[in-house]
Symmetry: C2
Subunit: 254 residues, 2 copies
């Protein structure tokens, strides 16, 4: 029985083990030069620099000075690697205890998450699955803690957390996509909304799209994004409405 496939090809068992650092098996053979951590770090750097579409095992290995196949000794494949990247890129949640009330805590939480998304825009395009990594769970824990003294039930706090998380994700994606795509087409950032409303003006039939037409003509599309160079205020306005609603609900419950 010499040529049987060497079963259980080394260390990297499950993605969960990688995420939590468990399952570090026996210390036999040559000391590894590579490690999952280094690989994940390099992968995140590649994705940050060139986007998720440009992420390949080759590029990651090159950046580390190793062969493509060497990565597979430490990470079971590309998809698991991406899961690890997410947990690393999202990092640790902010410290919220200094804030006076739950509302400012939640706002700070969302702003921090928003910033993370800005730093690693590729996170907005991965199929995420339920959070299971230590960092992702820390974010959830953090948000739930912020809602602790609202007097809401466990269910309600959980659902609200889910919604806040999702809303932040969605807005960040919308904004980031708009910037990215138009940037890829070689449009300078200042002209973004100008060009957009101009393109729309050309396409739109004022019979079929009366409201949009008047909106374009009034120039409302130009103002918000170019005012600060960022669409950030957009999400803050919407967020504030959401918080008002939550606050009213909390007040009603007590």
């Amino acid at each position: 029985m010499k040529n049987m496939p060497r079963e259980g090809s080394g260390r990297p068992r499950t993605t969960l083990d990688l995420l939590w650092g468990t399952g570090d098996g026996g210390t036999r053979g040559p000391r590894p030069t590579l490690s999952p951590e280094k690989i994940v770090q390099a992968a995140v750097e590649v994705a940050d620099a060139d986007g998720l579409g440009a992420l390949s095992m080759q590029k990651v290995a090159d950046r580390l000075g190793f062969t493509t196949m060497s990565l597979y000794r430490h990470v079971p494949g590309k998809e698991p690697l991406i899961e690890l990247m997410i947990d690393r890129a999202v990092g640790t949640p902010p410290e919220l205890s200094a804030h006076p009330d739950w509302r400012t805590m939640v706002e700070a939480w969302i702003e921090a998450l928003w910033n993370r998304y800005q730093q690693h825009p590729w996170m907005l395009h991965v199929q995420a699955g339920p959070p299971l990594g230590p960092n992702q769970l820390s974010w959830l824990e953090s948000l739930l803690t912020a809602l602790a003294d609202t007097g809401l039930t466990d269910d309600e706090r959980f659902v609200i957390s889910l919604y806040l998380n999702g809303a932040t994700l969605g807005i960040a994606r919308l904004v980031s996509d708009a910037e990215q795509v138009t940037a890829d087409r070689g449009v300078p950032a200042e002209q973004l909304s100008t060009d957009y409303s101009e393109a729309m003006g050309r396409l739109i039939d004022s019979d079929r799209f009366p409201v949009l037409t008047s909106l374009v003509r009034s120039g409302a599309l130009n103002a918000p994004a170019s005012a600060t160079g960022r669409a950030a205020p957009d999400y803050e306005f919407g967020l504030r409405r959401l918080m008002d609603g939550v606050e009213a609900y909390v007040a009603e419950r007590t």
Copy 2:
């Protein structure tokens, strides 16, 4: 000058032309058997069935009974094709005029969009860019119309539309990802949240994650998703808070 590359290889000029059906140039040569519409339809079917990752020009061509390369006569590439797919998959917005007030209109709008996302989950994972297709613009027009008699300014209505759109997108993605990923791992839908909270229970240290631990122990994670077999109520609750906030803002303005 015989062997110059036959410049301007046929009809499919820009993605915009495809989206709006403009630019259908001279009717020379053999009548085309294929058309952009058929291609887009087939592509949507493939993505619906096997997900975005399994979408390839091969599969689309096979489904139509043509060669891979034949597609490129009608569609400039894969990415433009996906943009067309989005506009087709999102379809036309719902009829809202029957609803009594703006709030129920907006709720109906969101529910309709939510349903579209359920029908075509791959839409949640594409880089979208600003909406330029006729159907996408119709959705925007529809939502803006619903907000018409709120007395808000153009800016405000636009920003709120953006936020509602983004929030719906984000929640739908969170929920769909969770379902999808766990389904890929062979977990039957009923066990989803059970397995999830069980996995979390194994991973979590009650010192580092006190709130989560108590949440898992109380079983709050099991209830919401399994109650209806869908996580739909989650988003409705959060949505209601958001609408309350908007309503308060509207009232304050008048």
